[in-house]
């Protein structure tokens, strides 16, 4: 659903010179420092172009720039604190060298639902105790992340990429203020379709 909305939004501003069309699947281990988690997502290429820059020495530098809209479902487990599931739509900017190494940056916006890390009770004014099931909270979520990786399609012609990414999640309103959480991803991106047509841009 997030991806659909994102695609509708971005397609209106799509440039006529779009050169590629690809859909990627992402899966990663999503560790919040020492705590485990996972992340699954899809990213859809909305803009892609090849850039050739000529240095003063006459040597050419060649790299691809890609822009994706993405939808991701993340989860992490912090024992005795909470489990957090979050769905986020994002905009990914990726720059890939001809060697296959790439860097990327992506802001995301979404919704988080936590589940408290322990039995949660309610006590009424008469002292009667009851258990509150699936106790937790909804938060608005903003995330920014940057990472590095290697695209195996460039040289080895394999349809996948490996990546490492650092994300900073912020959730609001968390007890009237915000909650910040660093998260590190190590994962794989699989290119479902990778019919990349590139046209050099001076």
């Amino acid at each position: 659903m997030f991806l659909t909305f994102a695609l509708i939004g971005f397609s209106q501003g799509e440039s006529p010179g779009r050169l590629s069309d690809s859909l990627n699947l992402k899966a990663s281990y999503n560790s919040s420092l020492i705590y485990p988690g996972a992340r699954l997502g899809v990213e859809y290429s909305v803009k892609s172009f090849n850039v050739v820059k000529t240095k003063k020495s006459g040597k050419e530098r060649n790299f691809d720039k890609e822009r994706f809209v993405s939808a991701n479902l993340g989860w992490y487990h912090h024992p005795y604190f909470h489990d957090n599931f979050y769905l986020a739509a994002g905009w990914t900017m990726r720059r890939t060298k001809s060697s296959g190494f790439f860097t990327e940056f992506s802001p995301e916006i979404g919704l988080s639902r936590t589940f408290l890390g322990g039995t949660t009770y309610k006590v009424n004014d008469n002292g009667t105790v009851s258990i509150k099931k699936f106790a937790g909270y909804y938060y608005a979520l903003l995330s920014v992340g940057g990472g590095v990786g290697y695209d195996f399609s460039k040289i080895k012609h394999k349809p996948y990429m490996l990546f490492y990414k650092f994300n900073l999640l912020s959730m609001y309103p968390y007890n009237n203020t915000i909650y910040l959480r660093p998260a590190m991803e190590i994962g794989l991106i699989y290119k479902l379709s990778h019919f990349h047509i590139s046209k050099p841009k001076a």
């Binding site: 489990d83 599931f85 937790g136 909270y137 910040l180």
Partner: protein, 346 residues
């Protein structure tokens, strides 16, 4: 089929995390939450629940969180005999919620404490003996609890550690102590410039303190304690590092909760709050522990409590090497006194 399996696994994970588990044993560690008025407050129970004697820690701040009190020494010398409940108050520690700022006030927190005690009794047995220990701001909160309705009948004993039952009086006593000790230290050629700065502030601000003046007095009191050679100095950051990984602490939650609570609007109300006039209601056994060099909550606050409460079961102990953190600065004396008190009145 695979997506159904993943969904079922996730549901099982959540159910297992929130499944009720109550352990009666000698070396227990379990976490549960109290949901009340927009806040889900974490309670960590550790130690000997088989003793059916529970010490509920009411931390300072407001907003400091309870986990820092879970020291190795307390684990070895209190939790081996009794259970200790580390309660994170609303908007503190690992407690969670959305926009619940309207409920951050002393009457609501008093109700929270009452429900924490009811919950502990529900989980571990109505016959459980409950003792409450209020440190610093926790002294004000437990004073509120003890003087409200019939709350004190729920517990076997009240322990106040470097606590305050009267914030305006607290400010006056802090100022007096800073002036007196400051002049003594200057006469001894110790930290002359630092003390002169504190004395100048105290001379310029003589009473009827604003919240800003009250906060500055507290800051001066913290500095003053650090200038005293007689004090076993305590470092909060070092203490946090010691417990952070072992106790799965959500560090950013602790930090942002603290920053919010410390600056929340209700601090202005707290600055004018006092329970001195209601102390006569207290008939429950009471133990008061104060540091000789506590400038933040001077021991004269304890003198007032001792003189005004109605119980004859009362005792006040002064640590000669402590400032505002008796339990960390003089842990041997702290555990000895708390142990004797619980054993006597459980």
């Amino acid at each position: 089929m695979q997506s159904q399996t993943v969904f079922v696994l996730l549901i099982l994970l959540l159910v297992s995390c929130q499944k009720e588990k109550i352990t009666i044993g000698t070396n227990v560690s379990e976490t549960f939450y109290l949901d009340n008025a927009g806040a889900s407050m974490r309670i960590l129970v550790e130690g000997n629940t088989a003793s059916h004697a529970f010490l509920v820690i009411v931390h300072g701040g407001p907003g400091e969180g309870s986990i820092v009190y879970d020291t190795d020494y307390i684990t070895q010398h209190i939790e081996n005999k009794y259970a200790v409940a580390f309660w994170d108050q609303r908007d503190a520690g690992a407690s969670q919620g959305n926009s619940n700022g309207n409920n951050l006030n002393l009457p609501q927190m008093t109700d929270d404490l009452k429900k924490v005690i009811e919950l502990i009794k529900y989980r571990y047995g109505q016959e459980s003996s409950i003792f409450i220990l209020g440190h610093s701001f926790g002294g004000l909160l437990t004073s509120s609890f003890m003087t409200t309705d019939q709350n004190q009948s729920m517990i076997k004993g009240w322990i106040m550690v470097d606590g305050s039952q009267n914030y305006p009086l607290n400010d006056t006593l802090t100022r007096q102590m800073l002036l007196r000790v400051g002049q003594e230290q200057i006469a001894l050629n110790k930290h002359i410039n630092d003390w002169n700065s504190i004395i100048d502030f105290c001379t310029a601000h003589t009473g009827n303190f604003t919240l800003a003046e009250s906060n500055q007095l507290e800051t001066n009191a913290e500095y003053a304690e650090s200038y005293m050679d007689e004090v076993n100095q305590f470092n909060l950051i070092t203490a946090m590092e010691a417990v952070s990984i072992n106790d799965d602490l959500p560090l950013t939650s602790i930090l942002f909760n603290y920053l919010y609570s410390e600056n929340a609007g209700f601090n202005a109300t707290l600055a004018k709050t006092q329970f001195s006039s209601l102390l006569y209601k207290i008939v429950t056994p009471t133990l008061l522990l104060y540091g000789k060099y506590d400038f933040i909550c001077p021991k004269e606050l304890g003198d007032e409590v001792i003189s005004k409460i109605s119980t004859t079961d009362k005792r006040m102990v002064i640590s000669p090497v402590s400032g505002h953190n008796f339990m960390f600065q003089d842990p041997v004396l702290f555990c000895l006194e708390v142990d004797n008190f619980i054993e006597k009145y459980r």
